[in-house]
């Protein structure tokens, strides 16, 4: 069983909804990311999504775009991101780490080489925003051989046929994008999300995480009642941005924010 599958099985047994924070690797600098990852786990994160910076993040809103720009300003490369995961693994062998980003940095390295290096570094899953199943056959093969899960997005526009197509190749969990829009976009309609999750669960046996548009503890708690995982990105990255001049304060500040989300989710899980 992969580390991701094991993690979700364990959470399910304890009746607990996963909290998955997203941060961009190398934002605001290379040194902050690993301590931040540990602080997030200490504050109650169950899995971590680590954004691989890209020059043209076409599915991201302004907050995560700027995080990418900050990380690229000092040349955070894919291999630096893998180094961070390797370093994180020295002290944490349990928490699954998922890399999230765009295809081109992986493409230039070569799928097989990337899969081998990512696996050696301790990466558990990959989410490539611009590689739908139709275009990711070879990538799937390489990642499977290396024992890495390929996590896919599902959207409000995904119909039954698409949900099935994705279900046939996804592993680990699937990530439901709760709004039509970019990361950090507007408000999610919980009734719509609930209906769509029911459809997804009927067609795909994997755990389902919900993200995009979850900004506060209250929304996190309400999503926790429906989903297997609550994914929070822009709300965290926005707080990092406010502290770029004081990076040493970032792990504690983000830890505090996540602890609040964790408490709200736990409250929902008990209810």
């Amino acid at each position: 069983m992969s580390r991701i599958a094991g993690c979700f099985a364990d959470l399910a047994a304890r009746g607990r909804t996963a909290l998955i924070p997203f941060v961009t690797a190398g934002d605001p600098d290379l040194a902050t990311t690993v301590p931040l990852m540990h602080a997030m786990v200490a504050a109650g994160a169950d899995l971590i999504e680590l954004g691989v910076p890209f020059s043209d993040p076409m599915a991201d809103g302004p907050v995560i775009q700027r995080a990418s720009e900050r990380a690229l300003a000092h040349h955070t490369r894919l291999r630096d991101v893998l180094d961070m995961v390797r370093k994180f693994r020295e002290r944490d062998a349990a928490t699954p780490v998922i890399l999230m980003g765009y295809l081109n940095p992986i493409e230039i390295l070569g799928y097989a080489a990337f899969a081998a290096q990512a696996s050696a570094a301790g990466v558990d899953g990959i989410l490539v925003v611009d590689a739908p199943p139709e275009e990711s056959g070879e990538l799937v093969t390489s990642l499977r051989q290396a024992g890495i899960d390929l996590v896919y997005l599902l959207a409000p526009t995904s119909d039954e046929a698409r949900i099935r197509t994705i279900g046939a190749v996804a592993s680990g969990f699937v990530y439901y994008v709760s709004v039509k829009g970019v990361t950090g976009a507007g408000h999610l309609d919980l009734a719509d999300v609930d209906a769509k999750l029911a459809e997804i669960r009927r067609l795909i046996p994997l755990p389902v995480g919900v993200g995009f548009g979850i900004k506060d503890a209250e929304t996190a708690a309400r999503v926790a009642r429906m989903a297997d995982a609550v994914i929070v990105g822009s709300a965290i990255v926005g707080r990092i941005e406010a502290l770029t001049m004081k990076p040493e304060h970032i792990p504690a500040a983000i830890g505090d924010f996540l602890a609040g989300l964790r408490a709200a989710i736990d409250g929902a899980d008990r209810a």
Binding site: S55, D56, Q65, L78, N104, R162
Partner: protein, 440 residues
């Protein structure tokens, strides 16, 4: 003009006849053949495949939210290409609103001065709004209307595609938002004002390199958000399937006309076609109906900026390598980590780090040849054509002209080069004046 109108008529007929046939390929090929019996058989070239691939290039590399809307677009496009009403409306608009067919002009004086091949200009600069871009926006806007979309968005570099989009939006009463990099907004202010006059909202994009690629990113973000009521009119043969094929088909009217016009004028096809390549839409529009004509050399001209060796250029086919950006796999300007690098060209319309996937395929397959000319060479050609023929070309088109100036003297006087004069230079007055230290 009388002859030209007759040709437009026969073309409309060709399109209507083709309505019975299936698929975009069949349609484009049949139009070509109905005009000229000597056209080569069409089995050989059949790209893209059903999923939008040109060999290893092209495809559909987009976020999940756009997969179904793109599928809907692909279906709608395939359907309306066989709808006689749609094709009749398109033809009528191209004739009455754009002013097609555009003439072929023999640049006799310039040919004489260069002392080699005879040079013919395909006058896309005479189209309404001043460039080839409108051929495509007319087609896509008609499609948007048929699909019930009330809002159109577009990205633009030089502003020509933005103007062409704002123009058709005004005419059809559609809301229009144009994304334009902040740097391009500054260097193409006349076009920005034109778009605003036409009722479009121009959004200056401040992210990334603040040029065309970032405008495209921002338009994609808008589309993901407003996909229910919004049609994204991409301005070149880049982007995810079906855009590269669809934009090519709408622009192929250039090559269909040119082929018939050259046959009529010379009794044979030209020896070489030359066109500038930004995303590649004016080039593929000219080349496509000639792909099966093995005797016609196809030459695409990229922007070498300050020179390929300087690294300050926009020539992915000449100096880049394959990767994935903006929905398709194609040649890109990227660094060794797969980050897209900033491009440079004096012409905003060529300042783009990618290129349409079909050009990547034509390059690898050897059917077309791609070269690059510098800012200086393009400027020299700009002045030469202006002074020699009384035609002020767009800086983009001037890149193609600069290549013609190199090629023509190497050919015989009885040979012919057809160059796509993709647009007029009115929008570039400020840029050219600034190079000479003047402010207008």
């Amino acid at each position: 003009m009388a002859i030209n109108h007759a040709e437009a008529g026969s073309e409309a007929q060709g399109q209507t006849q083709s309505a019975a046939q299936s698929g975009a390929q069949a349609k484009v090929q049949s139009v070509t053949q109905s005009e000229d019996q000597t056209a080569a058989p069409s089995e050989a070239y059949h790209w893209p495949d059903a999923r939008g691939h040109f060999g290893p290039y092209g495809g559909l590399f987009v976020p999940e939210t756009l997969m179904r809307p793109l599928d809907e677009l692909t279906r709608a496009y395939a359907r309306y290409l066989q709808d006689p009403d749609f094709l009749a409306e398109l033809d009528a608009d191209l004739r009455d609103y754009v002013g097609r067919p555009s003439p072929i002009y023999h640049a006799e004086r310039w040919s004489r001065e260069l002392g080699g091949a005879q040079i013919f200009l395909k006058r896309e600069d005479l189209n309404h709004t001043g460039a080839h871009k409108v051929n495509n926006t007319i087609g896509q806007a008609l499609l948007a209307k048929r699909m019930g979309k009330t809002r159109i968005i577009a990205e633009t570099g030089a502003g020509q595609h933005g103007v062409a989009s704002a123009t058709v939006a005004a005419r059809l009463g559609l809301e229009c938002v144009v994304y334009m990099g902040e740097i391009d907004v500054a260097r193409q202010e006349a076009n920005v004002y034109r778009m605003r006059l036409l009722g479009a909202q121009v959004v200056a994009v401040k992210s990334g390199s603040r040029t065309l690629k970032d405008a495209l990113n921002e338009a994609m973000r808008d589309w993901v958000t407003n996909v229910d009521n919004t049609f994204y009119i991409i301005g070149t043969v880049a982007g995810p399937h079906p855009y590269p094929a669809m934009v090519r088909d709408f622009q192929a009217v250039i090559g269909r006309e040119a082929r018939a016009q050259m046959l009529e004028r010379l009794g044979r096809l030209p020896d070489a076609l030359v066109a500038c390549v930004g995303g590649g839409s004016n080039a593929i529009g000219l080349f496509y109906p000639f792909l099966e004509d093995a005797g016609v050399e196809l030459i695409g001209v990229e922007a070498a900026g300050e020179g390929l060796a300087s690294g300050h250029h926009a020539a992915p086919l000449c100096a880049g390598r394959p990767g994935v950006l903006h929905g398709s796999r194609t040649y890109l300007m990227e660094d060794s980590d797969g980050q897209i690098i900033e491009t440079h060209s004096i012409s905003a319309g060529l300042d783009y780090p990618g290129v349409g996937p079909e050009h990547a395929w034509l390059k690898d397959s050897g059917r077309a040849r791609y070269v690059a000319v510098t800012d200086e060479e393009a400027l020299a050609a700009f002045h030469t054509l202006t002074r020699t023929e009384g035609i002020i070309p767009a800086l983009e088109s001037s890149h193609a002209l600069a290549q013609v100036a190199k090629l023509a003297p190497t050919l015989r006087k009885d040979q012919a080069i057809l160059v796509n004069l993709s647009g007029r230079g009115d929008k570039d007055m400020h840029t050219v004046a600034a190079r000479e230290g003047l402010t207008l």
